[in-house]
């Protein structure tokens, strides 16, 4: 149902009806008015912010140039770097655009925008695998990992709410047994989403929590088990080993489950996100990325660097603190949004 919702962004009437329907189905703690307005305006707001950042600048730059020269490219380079795309990926994009300009004998400054758009899309669609959440067929397990403070717990709350609304039986495992009050925080989210949670005490072995979560998911015939993990900096060897252990338990105890390992990345993060993705990929074979906090002024351009370097697709996007502020990442729409007039 949410999929449908996402596909029909322009049909606001339809959307409102469906949103209301969701509200009826779910008496969560959120106030209803908040939700009605919130969902789509936030969705748009989040995107328009990304859009503003790059497009406006590109337009200003393009307008100030009469012919295509080195200086113009340098300015475009600047725009991409300022969006956290990263030096290497930016260079690659600009080089490719330059090549195409030569190839196609382009002389109009305006056409550069189309080329840039094309180029960004190319990077985002390089990964030809399915970039929607991989949770079919049931049962499925979603392991959520990332460095500290990126929004793992919040993302899990939103995801649980969303999947439940799609009619799935969702179970959460509170695998962050380290951070103070992480379990309470997740419990609160599970209440809001109206799903069950498996939790141990603070300080318990996270692998044991995940193990119990898996057993419970089997016993209760849950469709999706979402596992929280403690935030960990990817350069901490022992913590990454711990994560690897959790990952192995999932593989061993739940081989029949469809697996999705999501790395949560804060959109304000700079180039370190690439290293994060690389290290987490080694430890637990991440299969997708959730880009959070895209409702700020950060452009989230590091997504391009991550995809370009590691071929791990972005699957979901967080655009606010409310339970419905989670959307599918659509590379086409994303680029279109970035470059729309």
């Amino acid at each position: 149902m949410f999929k449908k919702l996402f596909g029909k962004k322009n049909n606001s009437e339809n959307n409102n009806q469906q949103t209301q329907q969701i509200e009826k189905e779910n008496n969560t703690t959120e106030s209803e008015e908040n939700k009605k307005e919130g969902f789509f305006s936030r969705l748009k707001k989040g995107l328009s912010k990304t859009r503003k950042g790059i497009t406006e600048k590109v337009d200003v730059i393009l307008k100030s140039y009469k012919k295509i020269d080195e200086e113009l490219f340098e300015e475009l380079e600047e725009v991409l770097i300022t969006a956290d795309v990263g030096v290497n990926t930016t260079m690659r994009i600009i080089e490719d655009v330059k090549d195409k300009v030569k190839e196609r004998k382009i002389t109009e400054v305006e056409e550069i925008r189309e080329l840039l758009k094309e180029e960004l899309k190319e990077i985002l669609t390089e990964v030809d695998e399915n970039i929607s959440l991989n949770i079919e067929p049931s049962p499925a397990i979603v392991l959520v990992v990332g460095v500290n403070g990126v929004g793992k717990t919040t993302t899990i709350g939103k995801l649980a709410y969303r999947l439940k609304n799609e009619g799935k039986k969702v179970l959460i495992a509170a695998g962050d047994t380290f951070r103070a009050a992480a379990i309470e925080q997740l419990t609160e989210w599970s209440n809001r989403a109206g799903v069950d949670i498996i939790a141990h005490q603070e300080g318990a072995d996270p692998a044991a929590v995940i193990y119990d979560g898996i057993q419970a998911a089997k016993a209760r015939k849950s469709d999706v088990l979402i596992c929280d993990t403690a935030g960990r900096l990817h350069n901490k060897k022992n913590l990454m080993n711990e994560l690897n252990k959790i990952f192995r338990i999932v593989e061993r105890e739940y081989p029949e489950a469809t697996k999705e390992v999501l790395l949560v990345v804060d959109a304000t993060t700079g180039q370190n996100a690439v290293l994060q993705a690389k290290t987490f990929k080694e430890a637990c074979d991440i299969s997708g990325i959730v880009l959070t906090k895209l409702d700020g002024t950060a452009k989230g351009g590091v997504v391009l660097a991550v995809q370009s370097e590691l071929k791990v697709p972005v699957k979901l996007v967080g655009v606010g603190e409310k339970i419905y502020d989670l959307q599918d990442f659509d590379p086409d729409n994303f680029v279109e949004a970035i470059f729309s007039e």
Partner: protein, 446 residues
Amino acid sequence: MIFESLAEKLQKSLNKLKGKGKLSEKDVKQVMREVKLALLEADVNFKVVKKFVNSVKERAVGHEVMESLTPGQQVIKIVNDELTKLMGEEQKKIEFAPQPPTIIMMCGLQGAGKTTTSGKLGILLKKKGKSPLLVACDIYRPAAIKQLEVVGEKADIPVFSMGDKQNPVNIAKASIEHAKKNGYDVVILDTAGRLHIDEELMDELENIKSEVNPKEILLVVDAMTGQDAVTVAESFNDKLGIDGVVLTKLDGDARGGAALSIRAVTDKPIKFVGMGEKLDQLEPFYPDRMASRILGMGDVLTLIEKAQANIDAKKAMEFEKKLKTQQFTFDDFLEQLQQMKNMGPLDQILEMIPGIGSKQLKKLKVDEKELVKIEAIIQSMTKEERQNPSIINGSRRKRIARGSGTNIQDVNRLLKQFKETKKMMKKMTNMEKAMKKGKFKFPFFR
């Protein structure tokens, strides 16, 4: 590619520069390009980089090249000095109000680490004989209050909370009264994470500020923050007039360019850095360390400086001669090791020698901690063995291992490493010969 080590890249560009005397515009330009890329990769804001690079360029051209440095190294040294200057030359501490309680307000984006930092700061001040009170002003995030309570319990610092139904401004006000009544002389306000563009929540901070008039407003910033750090810091500073910055998660491997961006746009000091999840892992900020971290050349820089002071020129000459004539023995090896131990990481020392690529070095990577072991092993050899390692047979190996408290594998590894080193030195000697024919130049082994 991003994963190519920066040292490798830098080495390449440093090697391009030869010759002596004054730094030419060309020398500077070439290195500055690399510096620019290094800074951008470290997430320093684009505009800040541009400005910085231009100002350093001007300064560096015409600069004398020091005896012991190559022009490339000289430029890097200037860059680093300027960076350090920009990071703030002295350590700034927390200012205390003349009339207690001193009120400290923590603010920042979501997930920056405000709550953890509040607890850490409390512990730090407690150690200084203060009596701090933590105040839970985050009424929005689920379990945020509980988190601060747990942190307070671990730190053995009382936490003031009024639940999540009260306005944070009122909570802050009430906490000050509470502190005055109960004799707490520092009040740390842990506010909710917020986006700098969220006007409602930014107003809330402004209201807290005008109601309780904090002595210190600290902006907590994640060291991994990218280009947006400038916007965030500017917004918070414009709205609140921050007094300082706490840079968190610096125990990660982000280069922390955000620190430089924030300094450049706000001119406010970084007062502390978060170095781990444990509550005692809050450290004072060292501008010089941060500068070299951002530049990404870490200890190489230290080496540039120490190299000038430490290496006895005469000894170096002797060493060089021995290298060339292949008379390099374990005694020399030991001596070099001891000298290097004073200087820093071994692989970086070798990296400083132009002509030895980092790739070759990977083959003989020597672990820092291994140095002690190696020293012990060499010291357990007889004089004869040190001079002529080829006589070290099985039973000698056993004896050496026993004598040094290591095992035979360690001894074998060292012997192999030694052989590799010798092989490499031979290669270098050959290159040297080629150089004499005018093919190569060796700025280091002049």
